[in-house]
Amino acid sequence: MTQSLPSLHAHSPGAPGRLPLNVSGVSHAYGDVRTLSGVSLHVAQGEVVALLGPSGCGKSTLLRLVCGLEPVHEGEIALEGSVVSSRKFTLPPEQRGVGLVFQDFALFPHLSVLENVLFGLETRAHAFRWLGAPVSKSARERAMALLARVGLESRAESPAHALSGGQQQRVALARALAPEPRLLLLDEPFSGLDSALRESVRSETLEVLRESGCAAIIVTHDPEEAMAIADRVVVLNEGKVEHDGTPTSLYFSPRTAFAARFLGALNVFEAHLERSPSAGDDSVRARVGNFSFLLDASRVAESLGAGARLDVIVRPEGVLLEPQPPEGLFSKAPSQGRFLAQARSARWLGHEVLVTLDPLGGLSRPLTARVAGSHWRQLFPKWSEGLQSLPVPVQVRFEPGAVHVFASALAEV
């Protein structure tokens, strides 16, 4: 489904001259409030980039800067190689050829659906732009074709304000695409829709985008949405880029603790690095309390020495439960990388079970584990009959691939 693109890593942008968008070192502030600090990113030809972050992190501001609705304070923005925004100069929005779909769609209520879509075509078609010239036949055909593509050609003559939310979103998309922009920006385009509608509208929108081959930035605060639709995800927090890479890279090797936590990781605690050569393999371990667990060596920065403080983030799906070994065979000290915990509560989510564990081995906070339903039923066959009482002791270990460690930045966690 996705086009095969050269996956451009943040460090090797390739030839900047051909990039639909290149943002370098951009900073911005509203009065005293800093909105963006030294943000750099790019979008390649035909690529869909998700701009992900919490409210107030600066994502919408970045869109406004790229559109030219606000000037940059520092840094540069270039579209297809030519600089459009810099400290000294801001090209007006009407000359940039960038499309924008607003969060609230911003359809012109005094115009019909078709007139809305034609709006961008009219302004370019005629010399006397401000009069809103009569529309050429080809422009009309293009507008109707776009409306047909989003399934709304039957509503072409309706007034724009009479449409439902989902329909308005589709008109907004058609309107933005009509003038064939070189870059399309979408500001939380699906957040105004109810969840039942969101999935279908999302996939349809993505299809239309792919077909048009237009490079796009989609701003969202939903990590799942970002991972589902984007070729690349850029995580923003308080005006700074926290991560820039494929969805897979965000999931498996987030660059900062914030990026990792933003995906919804729930288990956060501090630990100390403990390089212990055990059994000859150069395994890297971390220790918290009297519990030590294995880490993926590739994830630990070389510079960290033994005893270094770490922020550890373990994804709930990486907290693995095993049945408690029979009493006698269980050694006093927890086996390598395993520890005992009490499963205090278990919520059945359908295909998954959300388990809260009170750890008995050195961790001060409870853990959350996501266990596949089938595995849980294996562990506790009497569960589905309601005959399993909680709390019940289990053995817990961490899957190294689901553990992210970061050098402790005290304020972060």
Binding site: E94, P109, W130, H161
Partner: protein, 515 residues
């Protein structure tokens, strides 16, 4: 509860009814005579005046509103509220002041185009106020969307902002036109024969009540048409609202010459509509006019203000009553009561005066005869030519102001608020005192101020209906100015202008609160 709106409805409709009665009850040749001679001229003058004022009011009001709402330029914040100051100036005072000051330089200053220019400057706040509110509330995203789609800032104004503001512009223009049609003092001073002066002339010079009544009815019909346009436009305006609020007020900065041009344009109505006349009047007062301030001036001013205060309280009381009773009563009659009050506002003062005199006289005759039959004493005039009659006329004319104000305020007392109070044990009276009254207090005060000042400025109805030897500030100014004694009139005129600043403050506070 439906009884109250019905009663009030009848009271509002009595003047209109009496016009019909006066106009058609007795045969009268005067009207035919008028029709053949001057009526065409009256209509033509009125129409020409309106035709000249409309573009002026629209351009001044909408462009300044657009600049103030969406741009940043020198002195913008002050100009934002100062553009309301022309509300303080009654057009007839401007006519007196400018004629007096400039007729040496422009001997033909008393002409229709100059009158139109005066009206345009003084009435532009009607359009400005509504347009500014619309432009501020309008989602700036719509203009952003237009610009991203390829419109320059100017093109975005014409293709998006202006069409969306059109209903508000129409409403403001309709109100301005109503004032032009209703005006008496200015056009009379400038010797322009409009319908309004025609009514007076027919009444006094020709001595034909019937002819005057018929003319008044034509004038009334025009006013009602304008009112209909205004209401329809306001309804349409609601369609176009409900956009998401502007996230940050994103203003386009106008720097250098562009900025100062904007400042100059916005300053035009302020200077010519308020600052310059006030300065000229103050100069007059300071040099010679202060001599006219004596005990009788003080008495007259006091009388003026007391009358305005009483009228204000009566209006507010009636308005509150009507708003309260129609709130709970459903159905045609309740709404009709409300609409009748709005129609009262559209009635030109001259029409109202003619319409009110007849029923007042009839009532007097009725009561007087009955009294005489019972007591044998002739009580004389009880209503006509008394302050009571005048207050009645004011109530009909200005009752719509407190009515709308109370309706809006009571609208904010939601059924759930009321219900909560009742469930918590409050009787209806207690609910009224503890819930409704505090919430409507601000609106009541605002309405009182607005009616007060409107009564102080009112001229045509007051001229006809006032008691003998009872001059208000406005009438006093009118008489002296007509005799070319502006110096003697200047203190009264200046006082009216100063008092007129009060509603500007109220309006500014109200619109700030809404934002």
């Amino acid at each position: 509860m439906t009884l109250v709106p019905v009663l009030l409805l009848l009271l509002f409709l009595v003047p209109v009814g009496s016009l019909f009665v006066q106009g058609f009850a007795l045969p009268d040749d005067t009207f035919t005579h008028l029709w053949n001679t001057v009526l065409g001229g009256y209509v033509a003058s009125t129409l020409s005046l309106v035709a000249l004022v409309l573009p002026g009011v629209l351009v001044l009001g909408s462009v300044s509103a657009w600049l103030v709402a969406r741009h940043d330029f020198p002195l913008r914040k002050s100009l934002s509220w100062m553009l309301l100051l022309p509300f303080a100036s009654p057009p007839y005072i401007l006519a007196y002041v400018y004629t007096d000051a400039f007729q040496g330089v422009f001997p033909d200053i008393r002409s229709l185009p100059v009158a139109a220019a005066l009206f345009a400057v003084v009435l532009s706040p009607y359009v400005y106020l509504l347009a500014r509110a619309t432009f501020l509330e309008q989602s700036s995203r719509l203009v952003d969307a237009a610009r991203v789609l390829g419109c320059s800032s100017l093109a975005a104004f014409f293709r998006v902002a202006l069409p969306l503001a059109r209903p508000s512009l129409v409403a403001g223009a309709a109100m301005a036109t109503m004032e032009v049609v209703a005006d008496f003092g200015t056009v009379e001073y400038f010797a322009i024969d409009t319908m309004s002066t025609g009514v007076y002339r027919t009444w006094f010079a020709l001595g034909s009540k019937a002819g005057a009544a018929r003319l008044a009815l034509i004038l009334l019909a025009c006013a009602f048409v304008l009112l209909g346009i205004e209401k329809a436009a306001r309804r349409r305006a609601r369609y176009f609202q409900g956009g998401h609020a502007t996230a940050r007020s994103e203003r386009t900065k106008l720097s250098g010459t562009k900025g100062w041009l904007a400042t100059a344009f916005c300053a035009l109505p302020v200077v010519f509509g308020f600052a310059l006349p006030t300065a000229l009047l103050s100069f007059r007062v300071a040099t010679e006019g202060w001599r006219a301030v004596d005990a009788s001036f003080g008495t007259m001013a006091l009388r003026s203000f007391s009358l305005a205060l009483v009228a204000g309280c009566v209006c507010c009381g009636a308005g509150a009553l009507l708003a309260w009773s129609s709130r709970n009563a459903r159905g045609f009659l309740a709404r009709a009561g409300v609409n009748a009050a709005s129609l009262g506002y559209a009635m030109p003062g001259a029409v109202l005066a003619v319409g009110v005199l007849f029923p007042l006289g009839a009532a007097d005759a009725l009561v007087g005869d009955a009294w005489q039959a019972v007591t044998g004493v002739d009580p004389g005039l009880l209503l006509s030519g008394t302050a009571g009659g005048l207050v009645y006329a004011y109530a009909v004319r200005f009752g719509a102001i407190p009515l709308q104000s109370f309706q809006a305020a009571l609208g904010r007392v939601t059924p759930s608020l009321e219900g909560t109070a009742r469930v918590l044990g409050a009787t209806p009276l207690r609910t009224f005192l503890r819930v409704h009254l505090p919430l409507t207090r601000a609106s009541a005060a605002a309405a009182l101020v607005l009616v007060f000042v409107d009564v102080v400025k009112e001229l045509p109805a007051t001229l006809l209906l006032r008691p003998f030897d009872f001059d208000t500030l406005a009438v006093h100014t009118y008489h002296l100015a007509s005799d070319e004694r502006l110096t003697a009139a200047s203190p009264a005129a200046l006082l009216i202008m100063v008092v007129g600043i009060l509603p500007v403050i109220v309006l500014q506070k109200l619109s700030q609160g809404r934002n």
